[in-house]
């Protein structure tokens, strides 16, 4: 097993990068990258936060992370479908230009 | 996902597809043994069968002719050629003068279309100095990207070898 401290460090950097991307990026796909990167950072932390058993990471957080990965994939796929549809309807792939309360039909 | 590929299903089941299915089944059983050893065969054989059947339904290939000895010789030839190919390109990349004269060359395929041509097209990219780019004219002309003008010879050698494996080559017009 590797030196986990290094990976905690990586997780911190990745989280920061993800936050930055989420704020700065306009394109929705990039925002999704950012969220997924943050997710990976948190998955790493979940595994490293529990003490290893028998020289391998605790199986419980590993199982939780596996569930988390499935959920992340589902959400990402749905978000992509939503993005494509949004683009088809409005021609936009970002959320910046808007007047959301404007429309007539709610 | 239920029905697809009318052009495939229309001719189903033919002797060819059954032969393909059988070959895949045997190969997959061997793969299973490689993965699991012999203990899991009660699951592996049905799995191999299902995989072969589904593969035949959705992504059928053409059965390979049964010439174990010739294939073995071919494997040896190919291994040698691909190592040569790797060495050749490595040498050219490392050479300070970067000895390449790249050009596109059309290559007239003499092999029958179908599996032999497909094999040729895919293996060309591993031979010394050649890269298959595109098939033209109903798979009779292969556009080859060659690092040196002479590299096209290796394609000829491969074609002769494949012709031998598949029986007689198509006679020249």
């Amino acid at each position: 097993m590797a030196d986990l401290g290094l990976y905690v460090f990586a997780a911190a950097l990745l989280f920061g990068i993800g936050v930055y991307g989420l704020i700065v990026a306009r394109h929705l796909m990039r925002k999704l990258f950012a969220i997924n990167i943050m997710g990976n950072a948190i998955f790493i932390l979940m595994v490293t936060a529990a003490r290893p058993l028998d020289g391998a990471p605790d199986p419980v957080p590993q199982a939780l992370v596996l569930t988390g990965i499935v959920i992340a994939v589902s959400a990402t796929a749905f978000a992509l479908a939503l993005m494509v549809r949004l683009h088809r309807e409005t021609g936009q792939v970002s959320l910046s230009a808007d007047n959301e309360s404007g429309g007539d039909d709610g | 996902m239920v029905t697809k590929n009318a052009h495939q299903l229309g001719t189903w089941p033919t002797a060819k597809s059954l032969a393909w299915c059988g070959q895949v089944f045997v190969a997959l059983t061997l793969v299973w043994i490689a993965l699991n050893g012999f203990e899991g065969l009660y699951a592996g054989v049905p799995a191999a069968f299902a995989a072969a059947a589904l593969g035949t339904l959705y992504a059928r290939g053409q059965p390979y002719p049964w010439h174990p000895l010739r294939w073995l010789v071919f494997a040896g030839f190919f291994l040698l050629e691909s190592v040569k190919g790797g060495t050749d390109v490595a040498w050219r990349a490392l050479h300070p003068a970067l000895k390449i004269e790249p050009e596109f060359q059309p290559y007239d395929i003499e092999l029958p279309p179908g599996l032999p041509t497909t094999l040729l097209t895919s293996l060309v990219s591993l031979l010394p100095g050649t890269l298959s780019v595109r098939l033209f004219e109903h798979e009779h002309v292969l556009n080859v990207h060659a690092l040196t003008p002479s590299a096209i010879d290796s394609v000829r050698r491969l074609e002769r070898m494949l012709g031998w494996v598949f029986g007689a080559p198509r006679p020249n017009p």
Binding site: L22, L28, K31, I35, M38, G39, I42, L45, M46, V47, A49, A50, R51, V60, P61, L64, T67, G68, I71, S74, A75, F78, A79, L82, M83, R85, L86, E89, T90, L95, D98, E100, S101, G102, G103, D104, D105, G106 | -
Partner: protein
């Protein structure tokens, strides 16, 4: 009996959703089968709780350090009733907008049933990670419902909601991972026993609470809510405002009053209370300037959610009762308002305020429902909203917390202002004839659904005693003494 009933409460709607997807021909039947038995199924757990207090159930036969447990106490029972009652009445409305046998209905109902089931599962769960999974399920189903009609505004709102919700879940998940590392369990009651206060668990808890605050759209993290609730299809707006945002507040309460029961976090409590206060003021003021009815109602939700946070600084018996009561009565009233607004929108094709003049003559039932629900939102007697706010005032008075007292009173005034603005336009506007150009009439049962919910919100003021007794029976451990 209780175990069977609880299992079915979660799994019956899920199975019904599966049947609709598998066999669209059976959708009308399975919608009924997935929803109508639910109140009956709730009877056994209700009796159990009235009898025993709390009911715990270990799933798969593995109890808490490792396995997932369901815990049914008075608070979760009330949430189950709230969810079931509102969902069924709103479903009555939705079955006209999205007939189960239609193409739109086949898209709508599976998500609707999954949303319903997942909120039941969430309310029951006593496991931090299981709560995460159910919360994701709630969120995805809710966003799927927002965007189900594919209208551009709804798509945009759904996208924003989705991004923020994903961020929120990540924060929550990080907290869960840390707490597991500290305690070796995920059971939120067991964690309370095992953990001592130190910076790490406090940070973990804060992360989780911040995530949940985003999901429940508490000011200043509310940015996604008005657009999402204001542009979703009518029944979806109703359920979103009435229940979906509440379940994450419910989770905050659980974490705060159960998991962190023994921690002394007065500063954080004050901060949360201030956020609540800001939400009340901001939401109400924003509601005052909106031009669309649904947006007014959506901002009103932002404001009303603020009250639910006042329970933290006013920590105590009365305040907790008040907050739970606010949750229930606001749920009923807000669902009624959104349904009435949906009917109006359906009838005249817009919900712009200036086009609504005179609509009361055309659609008396809906306007009446709107007004009745408004009474509860404003906190006028004898409604449920009045009782909730009265309890808040009493709690503030008792603790001599004059600031909160003024805030609650002022919040009621503001609510009255934005709601009277609506009613004034509808009933008293000089150009009354404008609203007469109604295109379609809503089917009467759709209006009745709104009216029934509004009446429920009023009746909550009359028949409060059993509910308050129930809340008292289920006061969190830290509060019972105070």
């Amino acid at each position: 009996m209780t175990a069977e009933a609880l299992s079915l409460i979660v799994f019956l709607p899920l199975l019904a959703a599966c049947v609709i997807v598998a066999a669209p021909g059976l959708s009308a039947l399975s919608v009924r089968l997935g929803l109508i038995p639910l109140p009956l199924l709730l009877l056994a757990p209700t009796l159990e709780v009235l009898d025993q207090g709390t009911y715990r159930m270990a799933l798969a036969g593995h109890n808490s350090p490792l396995g997932i447990e369901w815990a049914l106490d008075p608070l979760s029972l009330l949430m189950l009733w709230l969810n079931t009652g509102i969902t069924i009445l709103v479903s009555l409305h939705a079955s006209y907008g999205f007939p189960p046998a239609s193409e739109a209905g086949r898209r709508f109902w599976p998500l609707w049933l999954i949303l319903f089931a997942s909120m039941n599962a969430l309310v029951l769960s006593a496991d931090l990670f299981n709560l995460y999974v159910t919360l994701e399920l709630v969120t995805l189903a809710a966003i799927g419902l927002i965007t189900v009609e594919g209208k551009p505004l709804a798509l945009r709102a759904g996208m924003r909601y989705l991004l923020l919700a994903l961020l929120a879940s990540l924060l929550y998940l990080l907290g869960v991972g840390l707490l597991y590392g500290q305690t070796g369990t995920l059971d939120l009651y067991l964690i309370a026993e095992r953990i001592e206060i130190s910076w790490l668990p406090v940070t973990a808890l804060s992360l989780m609470i911040v995530g949940l605050l985003i999901k429940s759209a508490i000011f200043p993290l509310h940015a996604w809510l008005p657009a999402a609730h204001g542009n979703a299809p009518g029944p979806v707006s109703a359920i979103l405002s009435a229940v979906v945002v509440k379940v994450s507040v419910y989770m905050i309460w659980r974490l705060w009053f159960w998991t962190a029961a023994d921690w002394d976090l007065e500063a954080v409590a004050l901060l949360l209370g201030l956020l609540g206060g800001a939400a009340i003021l901001y939401g109400s003021l924003a509601a005052l300037v909106q031009v669309r009815l649904k947006m007014i109602i959506a901002y009103s939700t932002v404001a009303q959610l603020g009250y639910l946070l006042l329970v933290f600084p006013l920590a105590g018996n009365l305040a907790f009762k008040a907050a739970v009561y606010q949750m229930l009565s606001h749920g009923l009233a807000k669902a009624a308002m959104f349904l009435a607004a949906a009917n109006i929108l359906h009838a005249i094709g817009t919900d712009r305020l200036r086009r609504l003049a005179g609509i009361d003559q055309r659609m008396p039932l809906d306007v009446f429902a709107l007004a009745l629900a408004g009474v509860s939102i404003m906190g006028l007697p004898p409604s449920g909203g009045f009782l909730a706010k009265w309890l808040f005032l009493e709690a503030a008075w008792e603790q001599q917390a004059w600031g909160w007292l003024v805030l609650v009173a002022f919040g009621g005034l503001l609510a009255a202002a934005y709601l009277f603005r609506v009613l004034a336009v509808v009933c008293l506007h000089p150009r009354r004839r404008l609203g007469q150009r109604s295109r379609r009439r809503s089917p009467t049962p759709a209006s009745w659904a709104a009216l029934l919910l509004a009446i429920g919100a009023i009746l909550a003021g009359f028949f409060s005693a059993p509910v308050l007794d129930l809340i008292t029976a289920g006061l969190p451990p830290g509060l019972g003494s105070r």
